[in-house]
Amino acid sequence: MANNATTYYDLYRHSSIGQMLTDALDDLIGEERIDPQLAMKVLTQFDRVITEVLNEKVKARLSFKGSLDTYRFCDEVWTFMIKNVTFKLDNGGTSVTADKVKIVSCSAKKPDDK
């Protein structure tokens, strides 16, 4: 019930899956099979569902180690720049390394929802 009123970030629209969804909606609009209002609703629904699914359904985990180079907290957004990072995935203990990683994290509740 509460979720009806909760607003969601649209940041996952820029993920690969979000971009592909938008392309697919563009195609449907181009073929006049849906109207833009419906596309907008689909995207709003996507914002909600992807947030919930990532939160509730995805149980895969990874841990990582690295050297924290810079961090900042501005406008409710944390940013971490980490160097020489090793990610350890929990499926088979595979390790992935990266020279530099930027992590941007927002509160699960949007500032105006708090």
């Binding site: 509460a2 009123a5 563009d26 833009p36 596309a39 841990s63 203990g93 105006d112 929802d113």
Partner: protein, 1019 residues
């Protein structure tokens, strides 16, 4: 499908509606719905709604209200003001009528929705919907809107309403706020609607207050539950940031009184849980105190006891309410040393000890765990903040908070203990997954707690493990081992931790683990093996435990359930402890040989891991002769396998399934009945694939883990001779290569063979020192040249070729142009063989990437390619791909053109002239292609990628403006409706931006303009 004709009389319509509710085939229902939809949308829809609403049948009345909503949404734009006002009066009249004529509640509620729909269309004509409806309810008929000035004050009217009318007014209010909440209050169209709603708050508050304490006229009608639901909707609307809803806070106390009524308990608990979770600031400190007092009451104690005793069904809402309160007040509870806070926290930790298994029949465990994770995170924040600023305060509350954490840890440890095997097997898959996930959540919590407690936490579980071990309570031992395993990423290599871990690894547990028929249950054996793997770094530091651990793991390799985890642990341990284990290489090879000859066929993945483990030990052997000897021994297993596979393919009659070497090619040898045995050819292929995969594992294991300095000024000839002089190495490489080629030749149609060979080659590309899998560049080139359009998984081969180009820095540089000159025509010939550029997207993408890399690193090789038509073909191919629809090749083509536009060389004027000439020739064509894309042909997600070549064009070529202008005027430009002035305006903007990042934004706006307003729905 046969169409149903439109009904010609009201009776026929009623019959159709009634038929909808009868058991009918789906297609009949669908046809009836279609006819009814057409009726609703027809101009007669208004009349139809009016006629049907008088029908005594509830379903027909409901359809009438629905028709009204459809008409309001679709066909009310042209309605005159007078007609609209008249309609309102009529709908209110029907609404009032539904309260007295025995209509079902769902009919009245649908009429509420119809009224709300009216308000959202005609808010200017009906500015005070709630007050006006109350006025009409008071009078008993639909009143004119203008008459509202004569109405009694809302509180008086509400005070006069009987329960029936009161409940209907609450339904309307709930529908009003719920429907309006769905709209955006910042959109101009909905602003008056939101204003109307916010102006109604005082009336709504007064109505709901009455709903919480209704008149005594009709006790069978419960208004409190409706009032709670409606209040919840208003609070959620308040959460969206409206400060004008202050009067609503007066309803908190009356709502809280509903806890006293058991029938309202769930709805009340849900309301307050939502408020605490989503808008905690809605409640005043006084409200919080009331809730705290409530939690301290005997009534709350009863509910709590029910949950803890496992009677969660009716009481889970109370547990969730406690947790929501805890979340909202976590800081105060944590730092509060008063009895009430301590009692509350004690109860919250007790929620982790409720009867039952998490997720299966204990539903409060996971939410309670989430609360305690928040508690620990808050504690970490506060502890680190106060350490410097308020150290004395920290000393007061921290010991108390840590006591609670100890209880939490104990409760979690008990909860994650596995149920008996038969119990677990009786659960459904969701419960089993949920239980395993709950264990993982506990692992996460422990990692957070570690940040606070460090070594004592490890000691806590070590002590617990040793105690349970002594008592032989295996589920407890398993839970301890699991908890210690969860902390493996946190513990450091300090000696204090090693002392504690040493107590575990030196304990009898690991003796028992080795006993295949010992007392330990399977779960504990799995967790024990996993513990060894997780602490592989510990074994690096304490080699004395390593042989025993590995023996134990090897002993478990043959076990059906433990084979996988033990092979994984062997691989991790051997890889990280390789320098210590070099003397054991012959033993491990013998171990492996014993497994193979014993008739036991390992799971393929487990075998690959063991091979990888042995190879990584061989890699660390310092003596080159011993190293090659051990390598040769291991390699011989797989070359023999390949030879056997080839012979079997040629001579299927030699298949002998009693020989373990042939059984390796059968999926599940033990269970395969003769009739299920696949044909000899298939077995041959599987034997070969398995051998190749093992070779690939060897290649990974042989990769050097140390960093070596790459001397880029090293004399080429010296580098080349480094490897060539080692005759033995050359011989081994020849053997490996021959095995791979023989496999590919024998199983020419197998894509998997090609894929694994590519993986083997790639493993050598990243190496800087000579090794058995670090093949000379000419050998790799020769391999590629053998592949043609008929080779399966050609895309993978080309991708490997791309990696090869990137690895050439480590070889003799003087030969690189020669290698590339051989490879480049081969790649282009594969692209030429494609019927269409997009017919194999992987080939097109990797082919373009390959050429891009060559052009960027060795422009002379690329621009010097002969015959010139080959280059011409490639340019045209890339233009076609850029005009196409396939995203991956298109992205590669955009990258290629970006590199092409910026190609230059400083030390070769003749080459520079060729490059300039090529750009001058192709620039106009590229401009046309790009503008077709920005003119609407590109997909939205491709715009940023396509902006890159355009930006480079603008900054890098003096003719760019002219080319782009021509492209914008070209007949192939897709958006003919965009006037030329606007196209020229775009050009001016992008030229002025000089390749700046804002170019992307300008191009995106232009794309939108060309596509039309329909595409501006996404940000």
């Amino acid at each position: 499908m046969e169409q149903i004709p439109l009904p010609s009389s009201l009776g026929e319509v009623e019959a159709l509606i009634n038929a909808l509710y009868q058991p009918n085939p789906p297609e009949t229902i669908s046809r009836i719905q279609d006819v009814l939809h057409r009726l609703q949308r027809s101009p007669e829809g208004w009349q139809l709604a009016q006629s049907l609403i008088a029908n005594p049948n509830n379903n027909i009345k409901f359809f009438a209200a629905l028709t009204l909503i459809v008409k309001l949404n679709r066909d009310s734009d042209g309605m005159s003001e007078d007609d609209a006002k008249e309609l309102l009066q009529k709908v209110i009249g029907w609404f009032l009528q539904s309260l007295v004529d025995g209509s079902g509640a769902f009919v009245t509620k649908k009429l509420c929705t119809a009224l709300v729909t009216y308000f959202m269309r005609f808010s200017q004509l009906w500015p005070h919907p709630l007050r006006h409806l109350l006025y009409s309810l008071d009078i008993g008929r639909g009143m004119p809107v203008e008459g509202l000035d004569d109405a009694l004050p809302a509180n008086v009217i509400v005070g006069n309403l009987d329960r029936r009318k009161l409940r209907a007014a609450i339904w309307f209010t709930a529908s009003l706020v719920e429907e309006i909440t769905k709209t955006d209050m910042n959109v101009a169209k909905y602003m008056p609607v939101h204003k109307g709603l916010q102006d109604s708050v005082a009336d709504a508050t007064c109505l709901l207050a009455r709903g919480f304490s209704p008149p005594s006229d009709n006790p069978a009608l419960l208004t409190q539950e409706d009032a709670l639901t409606c209040f919840q909707s208003w609070v959620m609307y308040w959460q969206r940031g409206s400060a004008k809803l202050g009067p609503l806070v007066a309803l908190v106390d009356p709502a809280m009184q509903c806890f006293a009524d058991e029938s309202l308990f769930s709805a009340t608990a849900e309301l307050f849980s939502d408020i605490l979770s989503y808008c905690p600031s809605f409640l005043s400190e006084e409200n919080y105190n009331s809730l705290a007092a409530l939690f301290d009451s005997a009534w709350a104690a009863d509910h709590y006891k029910e949950i803890v005793d496992g009677h969660e069904d009716g009481n889970i809402a109370f547990g969730l309410l406690m947790l929501a309160y805890g979340d909202a007040k976590v800081l105060q509870l944590m730092t509060g040393t008063d009895d009430r806070s301590q009692r509350f926290l004690q109860r919250l930790s007790g929620l982790l000890a409720a009867e039952g298994y998490p997720v299966h029949d204990d539903y409060i465990f996971v939410p309670a765990l989430e609360f305690w994770s928040t508690f620990v995170e808050t504690m970490i924040d506060e502890a680190f903040t106060q350490e410097s600023d308020h150290a004395s305060e920290l000393l007061v509350w921290r010991p108390l908070a840590e006591q609670h954490l100890t209880t939490v840890l104990m409760n979690c440890w008990r909860k994650i203990q596995w149920p008996p095997v038969e119990t677990f097997a009786s659960w459904d898959s969701a419960e089993r997954t949920g239980f395993t996930d709950a264990r993982k959540d506990v692992g996460d919590l422990l990692q957070s707690v570690f940040a606070l407690k460090g070594l004592p936490l490890v000691k806590f579980f070590v002590d617990l493990l040793l105690r349970s071990l002594e008592l032989q309570i295996w589920p407890e031992v398993e839970a301890c081992a699991y908890c210690l395993g969860s902390l493996s990423d946190c513990v450091s290599d300090s000696s204090n931790y090693d002392i504690e871990l040493g107590r575990v690894f030196a304990s009898p547990l690991f003796e028992l683990l080795g006993e295949q028929r010992g007392p330990l249950p399977l779960r504990l054996r799995q967790t024990g093996l996993s513990l060894i793997e997780r602490y592989s770094e510990y074994f690096e530091r304490h080699a004395e435990y390593l042989p025993h651990a590995l023996n134990l793991l090897f002993a478990a390799v043959g076990d059906a359930q433990l084979g996988g985890p033990s092979a994984k642990a062997i691989s991790t341990l051997c890889s990280s402890c390789r320098p210590i284990l070099t003397s054991e290489a012959p033993t491990f090879i013998r171990h492996y040989q014993t497994i193979r000859t014993s008739g036991l066929v390992l799971d393929s993945l487990a075998e690959e891991r063991i091979v990888l483990a042995i190879a990584s030990i061989i890699q660390a052997i310092p003596d080159k002769v011993q190293k090659m000897q051990a390598f040769g021994q291991l390699l011989s297993f797989f070359t023999s396998d390949i030879e056997r596979a080839v012979q079997l393919k040629a001579n299927p009659g030699m298949l002998n399934l009693s020989d373990p070497n042939f059984l390796r090619g059968v999926e599940q040898p033990s269970s395969a009945a003769p009739s299920q045995v696949p044909p000899a050819e298939e077995i041959a292929l599987q034997i070969a694939l398995r051998a190749l995969r093992c070779l690939s594992s060897m290649a990974k294991g042989m990769q050097d883990v140390k960093d070596h300095v790459v001397d880029i000024d090293d004399d080429d000839s010296q580098q080349q001779t480094k490897q060539a002089n080692n005759a033995e190495l050359v011989g081994v490489q020849a053997t490996i290569l021959a095995a791979m080629l023989q496999t590919q030749e024998t199983f020419a149609s197998s894509g998997e063979v090609v894929e694994i060979i590519c993986m083997i080659l790639k493993a050598g590309f990243s190496e800087t020192e000579p090794g058995p899998f670090v093949f000379p560049a000419e050998v790799v080139v020769d391999f590629f040249l053998k592949q043609g359009p008929a080779t399966p998984r050609l895309g993978t081969v080309l991708s490997t070729a791309c990696s090869f180009v990137g690895s050439l820095y480590r070889g003799p540089r003087m030969y690189v142009p020669n290698h590339l000159s051989r490879l480049l025509p081969w790649v282009i010939s594969i692209l030429q063989a494609l019927p269409e550029p997009e017919s194999d997207t992987e080939v097109a993408q990797n082919g373009i990437y390959f050429v891009d890399r060559v052009m960027t690193k060795y422009p002379a090789v690329f621009f010097g390619l002969q015959p010139f038509q080959t280059l011409e073909f490639f340019f045209m191919f890339c233009l076609k791909v850029l005009n196409g629809k396939e995203p991956l090749p298109k992205s590669a083509a955009a990258d290629f053109w970006t590199s092409f536009i910026t190609s230059k060389t400083e030390d070769d004027p003749a080459l520079q002239a060729t490059i300039t000439g090529a750009i001058e020739h192709l620039g106009p064509l590229l401009a046309i292609s790009l503008m077709q894309n920005f003119g609407g042909n590109a997909a939205r997600s491709e715009l940023d990628k396509l902006s890159e070549p355009l930006k480079k064009l603008v900054t890098g070529n003096v003719h760019a403006q002219m080319w782009l202008q021509n492209a914008l005027q070209h007949e192939t430009f897709p958006a003919h409706h965009v006037p030329l002035e606007q196209r020229i305006m775009l050009l001016k903007k992008i030229i002025a931006l000089r390749g700046n990042r804002d170019t992307n934004k300008v191009l995106r706006e232009f794309w939108l303009l060309c596509r039309g307003a329909n595409f501006s729905y996404a940000s």
